[in-house]
Symmetry: D2
Subunit: 358 residues, 4 copies
C-alpha cells in the first residue's frame, strides 16, 4: 500500500484544495524532501485564477525548505536527514541552455535544449512544494544544505523572491554610485531594492503607495520613495535626480504602466531590468525609446536557480546584510492553506509573504 | 569679404537645395575639412521629408572624407593637408556620457552630461558634410587619418554605415558558432551581416527581397537568405534552424513588422539588437516576449564614433576582410546633389549608396 | 568471460605500450564509445616522459571520435550507433564549478566543487581514448553528435586543440580591429590564430620558425609571421605595430621566454592570454608589468568542454571558415601507436598531429 | 612681477622641501585651483626616497581639494569660486587610450595614444598638489564639484585612495555572495575592503597586523582579519573558507610575499586583483598557478580618474555607506609639510593619512 501525503492541488480555475496524493517514488537522480516550510507566490495566485494554465491535479508551490527524506541511487554527497532548500527553478545541468549560462530556460537534453521558462518545474510542470513531500529533480544540481544557525524563515525567500529580486539588479548591471529606481515594492521589488544596495547603488528610489512596504523598502536600502498616488512617478524621479534620470530601472510588477514609466525615467544609455510577469502585449513609446537610438537596453530575467545560487543567497542571509524576515508577515499550517490562499490572493491584513508549515 | 562655399541646405520639408554659405571660422578645438567625398544617408531622406526635424538653413550630411584645410589652435598631432575621416557621431570626449562609455549620447559638459542622440551633431545640430567644407568639432577626439593606400570610396562607409552595422553584432554579443538573423539588407543590414561574420557567427540568415542586396549579403557572409515576399520569415527561420531559433537577431529597418519578427525568431535567452530608426510606438507581443520571463534582451545602439572607432574600421577595410565598395552604386558631383537625393529617396536604379564629390 | 580491448597504457616513465584491458562496464550516466579516430597530444608526451604524473596502468588520450556502443540507463536523447565526439574536458554539469561558469575546474559534487584542472578526466584521472573503447562520464553533458557530412578527421581537433586554441582569443577578449600576437605556432597556436581571426582581429602576428607551421598560420589568418631565429620577436613586433604593441598576446608554448615576450609586446591595458602548460615557476619582469600599474591582465584558460562547446566548434568546421585538416599530417593504426608516439615525441617528419585509427 | 606660491618640491633623493614657485599661467583647457586640502601618498614617499624618479624641481602630490581660482578660456560649465576635486589621474579625454576605456594609460593624442601610467600627471610629469595652487589639465574632463554638505576631509580620499581601493574590487569582478581576501590594510587595502562590501561580497578577509588598521577594516566591512604575525595567512584563509579559497584576492601592498599569497588563496577560476606598486620582478609559483591551467586571472589597475569617477565616489560618501574620515589621522599646515613627510614616511604615531592645509 502506497503511503499518502497531503498536497495543495489545482483542481480548476478558482479552486486550489488540500487533498491526498501518494508520496512519490524516488528516481535515481531525485531527492525526496519532507517539507518543513514553504510559501505562496504571486504566480500561484495567477494559477489559482486560471490566468496561468497548469495541469489539473498538479501540486502547486515552488519554494521548498525541508529535510532530505530519501536520496536517489545516483545522488551522492548529501545525507538523508540534512536540511536543505532548492531553487524555484531546478535546472538539469545538462541541457544546452545550462551549458551556455542560460539555465532558467532549460530544455530537453536532446536537440536544441532551450525551452522558454523550462527551468521552472515545481508547481508548473511537475508536482510542487505545497505538500508534505516534494521530489527534487536533478538533485545533484539543486539541493543546497542550510547552515544550522539559519532558521527556515530566514532562508524561505531564497528559492524565488530573493533570487529574482537580486537578479533585477544583477541583470541591470548596477555599478557603484548608480541611481536605481524600483517600480512596485512587493516582495520581489523589495528584494530588488536590497540587491541594488548590495551592488553599490547609492541612490535607490522605490515607487509604491503601501506604508508597510515603503517602511520595509527604507530598511532594505531605499534612499527615496515615491508614492504614485500622490505624485507622478516619472516627474518626481526626474526631479529627485535633478533631470538626469536613472542608470538602471527595475520593473517588478508586470504592467504596461510600470514598464512604460521604467523606460521614461532612464537616462540615455540606461538599462530597464524587467522582472514582472506581464499579462498582455506591451507598448514601447517612441519618445521614451529615443526612436531606437538611445543606447538603451531592456533585459528580462527569470529567477536564477541551482545550488550555487542558493548557497550565495544563504551567504547573504548569514552575513546579516539583508534581513528579509519582515517579509514573512503571516504563518499557516498546511492544513489551513486554503485560508492562506484566501488571505494572500486578496492581499488582506498587510500580507507580504506567508509561511506554510506542514 | 568672407569666402563662400557650396552646401546642401534643408530649406523646408520636401526641399534640400544646393546653396552658398560662408566657409566657417575655425575655433580652437575645431578642424576645417575640405570634403573630397561624402554620401547621403537614409536619415537625410527622413530630414528631407520633414519626418525628422532640423533647423531650416542647416547643411545636411554626416559622412565626411576629406583633407584638413585648417586646424584650431588647440588641435595638435595633425597636419594641414592630411587626409582624414570623422565619424557621423562626434563625441566631445569630456561629457559624463563620454566618461562612462556612452559617448553617442553625449551631452553638455555641465550637469548630467547625457543627451539622447546628443553625439550626432553633423547635419543634425551643426552644419553637416554635404558641402565643400565642414567644421569638425572636438577635432582631437574625432579626426582619423586615412592610410594612403585606401581610396575615399573604401572608407566612405566607415563614419556611419559600417560603424552602425557592426555595432549591431557587437551590442548583440555575437559569439563563435552563433546563429544570427539580420532583418533588412539595406546598407546597414549588409554591414550587420559583415559584422556578425567578423565576430564568428557561423549561421547568418539575411531577410530581404531585392536580388542585388541578397547577392551582396551572400558575398559579405550570409549563409542563408529568406525572401520575405515568398516566405514567412519567422516560419522559414525556425525551419532553417531546426526549431532552435537565433542567438542574436538584428533589426536594421525600423518597423513594427521587422522588430516583432526579430523577437519571434529568438531562442530563449537570445538578444534582439536593434539598429533601426522607428517612426511610431512599438508593440512587444506577449508570447514572443515569454511574458517577460524568457531571459531575453532588447538592445539599441546609435552609431559609435570617435577616432579609435574610425581607426579600427579602417583596419578592417585595409585587412581586406570586408569589401564594401559594391555598396557604392552611384557617383554624383556635389553640384548634382539634388538629383542624387531624387534617385536615393526613390530608391531608383538599384541604388544602395551614392558617392558625392565636391 | 569479460570482453577485451586494446589500449595504450602508461606503464612507467618512458613507456606507453599497447596492451589488453577489459571493455569497461557502463554505469547509469555513462556512454561506451567505440573509438574510430583519436590522436596524441603534447600533454600525452609529458605523461610519457614522466613530467606529468598519472597512475600506472591508465589508458592515455583525451580526444575521442567514435560510435556510441552502449548507453547508460540514465542517458536519454542519444541512440546507440550514433557518431559522436566528446571534449577532452568532461565536466559533470552539477558541481559548483559547473554552476558558476568554470566547468573545466570541475570538482566533486560535495563541499566546494572546485578542483584545479578537475574537468580533465580522460587519460588523466580515468581511462582515456587511445583504445578501442572509452567510457564517457556524465554522457548527457558530454556527448555531441557529429553531422553526417563531416569526416572524423575534420572534427578530430574539436575536443582539445581547437577548443583550447580558440579560447586563447576568447579569454583574451579579442575585438574587431585588434592586433593579436600568437607565440608558438604548434597545433594550439595555429588554432589561436584561427580563433583571433574568427573574432575580428585584423592584425595577427605569429611567432615561430618552422616553415610548415608558418605556411599553415598564414592560411589560417596570420597577417605577419616573425621568425624568432632571425629576429628578436619583441623588437620586431613593436616595429610591425609602429611602436604601439598588441591588444592581446596569446602564449601557446609554456616557457618563460614566450610568457615574458608575450608580456613585453602588450600595449598598456592589453591582455596576455596564456594557454601553455608551464613546467617551472614564472618570472614577471617589473618593467614589462609596469610595476603593476599598466592596467594589464594575465588570463589562463583550460580547454573548455561540454556538448555545447563541441557543437559550436563543429558549426565552425561545417561552415568552412576554418579548415584544420592540414594539421593532421600522419595516420597510424592503433596497433602502431608506439611508433606514432615515437614520431610525435621527437617531432620528426614535420608532424603536427597524427590520426590514430583502432 | 609674477605672483608666487608655496610648494613642496622634490630637490633630490631624500629631500622634498617647501619652497616658492610662480603661480602658473592658465592655458585654454586648464583650471587653476587654490588648494584647500591635500594629502601625502605612499607613492610620494617612494619619490622622496628616490625609488620612483621624477624631475628635480617638480611639485609633489596628486590629491587635490580646492577652489577654482581661474578657468581657461575653453573651460565652460564651471564657475570660479566653485569647490572641486580632481582625480589623481587626469586623463585628456581625447587619446586612443581614453577612447577605448583605458584612460589611466593616457598617451599623446597622436599616433598610438597609449602610455604606461600616462594618466598620472600630478606630481609625476606636471606640478602637483602639495602647493597653494595647482593647474588642472583638461579641466573639462577632470573638474568635479563637491556637494556643499561634504567637508574637505570627507572627499579627500576620493582622488586616489578610494578610487584605487574600490577598483581592486571592481577589476576583480566581485559578485554578490563572494569571498574576498585583501592583503594589507593600509589606506588602499582598507578602501578595497569597503569596495568589496559595496559590491556584495559576504565574506571579506583582511590580512594585516596593526590593531588600528584591523579595527578600521572591521568597521568598513571585513568579516574576518588574519594577523600575519601570528598565523600563516594562506593556511588560515584556507581554514576560514573550509578549504575552498577565495573568489577574488586583492593585493594592496606591492611585495612578492603578498602577491604570492594572494595567488595561493584563490580557488580554481579565481581572480587576483593587484593594486600594489612593485619594486622588483615577481615570481609566479608553478603550483599556485596550476601550471597555467587553473582558469585564473591576474589583473592590475591604476587608479581610475576623470570627473564621472569622482562624482560616483562622492555619491558613495554622501550616501553615508562608506566613512573614510577615520583614515585621516593627522592634520598639518602646508608650512609644516616637511614634518608631515617625516611622520608619514616613518609611519609614526599610528598615521594612516594626513590632511595638509595651505
Amino acid at each position: 500500500m502506497t503511503a499518502k501525503m497531503k498536497a495543495a492541488i489545482f483542481v480548476e480555475p478558482g479552486r486550489i484544495v488540500l487533498d491526498e496524493k501518494p508520496i512519490p517514488d524516488v528516481g535515481p537522480q531525485d531527492a525526496l524532501i519532507r517539507i518543513t516550510t514553504t510559501t505562496i507566490c504571486g504566480t500561484d495566485v495567477h494559477i489559482l485564477k486560471g490566468e496561468y494554465p497548469v495541469a489539473r491535479g498538479l501540486t502547486i508551490g515552488h519554494e521548498p525548505v525541508g529535510i532530505i527524506e530519501k536520496l536517489g541511487s545516483g545522488v551522492t554527497g548529501f545525507q538523508e536527514g540534512q536540511r536543505v532548500i532548492a531553487g524555484a527553478i531546478t535546472p538539469s545541468g545538462h541541457s544546452f541552455a545550462c551549458l551556455c549560462g542560460c539555465s532558467s530556460q532549460d530544455g530537453p537534453g536532446t536537440r536544441h535544449g532551450f525551452k522558454a521558462m523550462g527551468g521552472w518545474k515545481f508547481g508548473n510542470t511537475i508536482d510542487g512544494t505545497q505538500a508534505e513531500y516534494v521530489l527534487v529533480p536533478d538533485a545533484l544540481v539543486n539541493l543546497s544544505p542550510v547552515p544550522d544557525h539559519l532558521t527556515d524563515e530566514q532562508v524561505l525567500m531564497c528559492p524565488d523572491i530573493m533570487s529574482t529580486g537580486f537578479s533585477g539588479a544583477e541583470s541591470g548591471g548596477v555599478r557603484i554610485g548608480d541611481t536605481v529606481v524600483v517600480f512596485a515594492l512587493g516582495p520581489i521589488g523589495l528584494c530588488a531594492v536590497a540587491g541594488a544596495k548590495l551592488m553599490g547603488a547609492t541612490t535607490i528610489i522605490g515607487v509604491d503607495t503601501v506604508p508597510k512596504r515603503i517602511e520595509i523598502a527604507r530598511a532594505l536600502g531605499a534612499t527615496h520613495v515615491v508614492d504614485f498616488k500622490t505624485h507622478d512617478p516619472v516627474e518626481e524621479i526626474m526631479r529627485l535626480t535633478d533631470g538626469r534620470g536613472a542608470d538602471v530601472s527595475i520593473e517588478a510588477l508586470g504592467t504596461q504602466k510600470t514598464f512604460e514609466a521604467a523606460l521614461r525615467v532612464l537616462r540615455p544609455g540606461g538599462t530597464l531590468s524587467s522582472l514582472g510577469v506581464y499579462s498582455s502585449d506591451l507598448t514601447i513609446p517612441l519618445g521614451a525609446f529615443s526612436a531606437g537610438l538611445g543606447d538603451n537596453r531592456i533585459v528580462t530575467t527569470l529567477c536564477p536557480g541551482g545550488k550555487d545560487r542558493m548557497r550565495r543567497l544563504m551567504e547573504v542571509v548569514a552575513s546579516g546584510r539583508v534581513d528579509l524576515k519582515p517579509l514573512v508577515t503571516h504563518q499557516f499550517k498546511l492544513d489551513d492553506i486554503e485560508a492562506a490562499y484566501d488571505l494572500f490572493a486578496h492581499q488582506r491584513d498587510g500580507v507580504l509573504k506567508v509561511a506554510i508549515k506542514p
